[in-house]
């Protein structure tokens, strides 16, 4: 299992093969080497997991939750619900550059809580391009508008369980350790942090890139589609979100609620079989591979061995948290956020559950997932950054300075302030 873990580290960091290929490779290797169908004899005292359980990682409940999120988000994009909602929400912000920039960030973050960060950024940057083209080339508002979108999309992604894959990876590993985190609990923990980081990012952008123009005209979207499938989509979208948020009342887990829109939208023809074919299945597989890696590490005792390597007692929790967060943010600045989460979450949660430390597993999972989303200092850090960079309006140094400031501030908050708050709220 150590060999599998080592290979996963090498392949996910080097990206020598597609990320999803590494994910299925992990599952195959686990089945062939450490399952009850292993081709080599295992130590007699070792009780292997069934091979079915490794395959089951690809249909883990948290992936079903994510599948529901994908289907809802793709349908919303298909019927332009995302753009039209953005247009309606932007109106109250008026036309002054400062408030418009804030409005753009609020809307981008809200959308990316439920849609992929990449799709949100692509849609919003597409709207921004004509605006920046109409501004004076020396107006630094062009830079702040273009930077605001990826920053808000990255930060918005940490807000809900379906916001971005690292959140799902953390939830999946926690669920396998018997720690169930419902949709609302995640949001109660993550949204306050998200809001503070967004406000900070807004201050940084308005301070570093003052606008020279007095008013900006930004209109997004048009009239809402009133066709029958569009209405079915609106109803399904809002009912699903309400059902996700009200789990404490009805008790149906988010992963079951999330499967309802898949069935409803497919059977009503709102989401067609062709749309289904175009889903980002490889992202689900990548998350599935991460979940399989986590369960392999735990079931083979590799976790205990890794934990035993160091004397954790001598290390204060806060140092451990800071180290995990820093490692996550640095690694995911250069490689995919999801791959980083796949590698670090099993380690972090193992440290917490092993008893070697008194770290709370939920805290470890949340912190690593959040740190992955905060990595945005380079064009290659996340696809949203690559999109903003492609416009030619922002330079690498703009992304780097704003990314380091916002990411660094967010990480400090997540390590030193948020845990106190979470404990105070009784989450852990």
């Amino acid at each position: 299992m150590l060999a599998i873990f080592g290979a996963a580290v090498a392949l996910w960091i080097s990206e020598a093969i597609p990320l999803a290929a590494t994910a299925v490779g992990i599952i195959l290797a686990e089945i062939l080497l450490v399952s009850d169908q292993a081709v080599l004899a295992l130590a007699p005292q070792f009780e292997p997991n069934t091979y079915q359980s490794f395959y089951a990682s690809l249909a883990h409940p948290v992936l079903m939750l994510f599948l529901g999120g994908f289907v809802l988000a793709d349908s919303a994009a298909k019927y332009q619900l995302d753009r039209n909602l953005a247009g309606v929400m932007l109106r109250p912000f008026g036309s002054s550059p400062r408030s418009l920039l804030g409005g753009l960030m609020v809307i981008t973050a809200l959308l990316s809580m439920f849609m992929s960060n990449t799709a949100t950024t692509a849609a919003m940057i597409a709207v921004i391009i004509p605006v920046t083209a109409s501004l004076d080339p020396s107006d630094r508002l062009r830079v702040s508008l273009t930077l605001a979108v990826p920053v808000a999309a990255n930060v918005g992604g940490l807000g809900t369980p379906v916001g971005t894959p690292p959140n799902a990876i953390a939830l999946g590993r926690l669920a396998d350790e018997g720690i169930r985190v419902d949709f609302l609990t995640w949001m109660v923990a993550a949204v306050p942090l998200m809001v503070v980081v967004l406000v900070f990012a807004w201050l940084v952008l308005t301070w570093r890139y003052p606008a020279t123009t007095k008013a900006v005209d930004l209109t997004i979207g048009g009239a809402f589609d009133r066709s029958r499938p569009a209405i079915i989509l609106y109803a399904t979208f809002f009912l699903t979100i309400i059902a996700w948020l009200s789990e404490p009342i009805h008790g149906v887990p988010a992963s079951i609620v999330g499967f309802v829109p898949v069935v409803v939208l497919l059977s009503s023809g709102v989401f067609t079989v062709d749309d289904l074919r175009k889903l980002n299945w490889h992202v689900l597989w990548l998350v599935g591979g991460g979940i399989a890696l986590g369960s392999g590490v735990a079931s083979t005792g590799l976790d205990a061995w890794m934990v035993g390597l160091l004397d954790w007692e001598s290390m204060p929790n806060i140092v451990l948290l800071a180290a995990l967060g820093l490692l996550a943010i640095v690694l995911s600045t250069v490689i995919s956020n999801s791959a980083t989460a796949n590698l670090l979450i099993p380690i972090g949660i193992t440290l917490a559950t092993s008893g070697a430390t008194d770290l709370d597993p939920l805290l470890a999972g949340l912190l690593i997932a959040i740190a992955c989303s905060l990595a945005m200092a380079l064009p290659v850090s996340t696809p949203p950054n690559a999109v903003a960079y492609a416009t030619g309006t922002v330079a690498t140094k703009d992304l780097a300075s704003v990314g380091v400031l916002v990411g660094g501030f967010g990480l400090l908050l997540a390590v030193f302030v948020a845990p106190v708050l979470w404990k105070g709220m009784g989450l852990m």
Partner: protein, 163 residues
């Protein structure tokens, strides 16, 4: 990195230079290649392919020495490997019959009458190249600056990058 190429097929040097000058506003992701006849164009296309670049658009005059511009576009359309290339005729001399053949047999994308307007020519080239990048499934990001950025970005999430 592979480049996107526009092939300009025109036999009169001063007209060819004028077209090239009007299109010389794109950044370094788009390369302009010149040819003066049907045969010359086929040689140029083979070279572009062997360099690993993508020919996105052929902008051809109809009247050329030897075989015509419409012949060239029909030839490209008959070959499955070059069918996706966008085809624009820029001419003052194509008769009705040739024009009908260009539309029906070459799947002509646009017809530009000479004398042309530089702004409109650039607009047509930008739109056609944008269509090509999306249909050919190229990574749209390098072209966001030079082509129709909003439309390219709409196609971007379908590339399925991983956050």
């Amino acid at each position: 990195m592979s480049e996107l190429v526009v092939l300009v097929v025109e036999d009169e040097p001063e007209v060819r230079d004028a077209i090239i000058r009007d299109l010389d506003t794109y950044g370094d992701t788009i390369r302009l290649v010149e040819a003066e006849s049907f045969e010359d164009a086929l040689v140029a296309i083979r070279e572009i392919e062997s360099e690993g670049d993508f020919l996105g658009l052929v902008l051809a005059d109809h009247r050329l020495p030897g075989r015509t511009g419409v012949d060239l576009l029909v030839t490209l359309n008959d070959d499955p490997t070059s069918r996706r290339i966008r085809k624009v005729l820029i001419t003052g001399q194509a008769g009705q019959e040739d024009t009908i053949r260009a539309i029906n047999d070459a799947a002509l994308n646009r017809y530009i009458a000479k004398p042309w307007d530089a702004g409109k020519l650039r607009h047509v080239v930008t739109e056609q190249l944008t269509d090509f990048v999306i249909e050919a499934g190229l990574d749209p990001l390098p072209f966001v600056r030079d082509l129709d950025g909003p439309r390219l970005l709409e196609a971007f999430p379908r590339r399925g990058l991983t956050e």
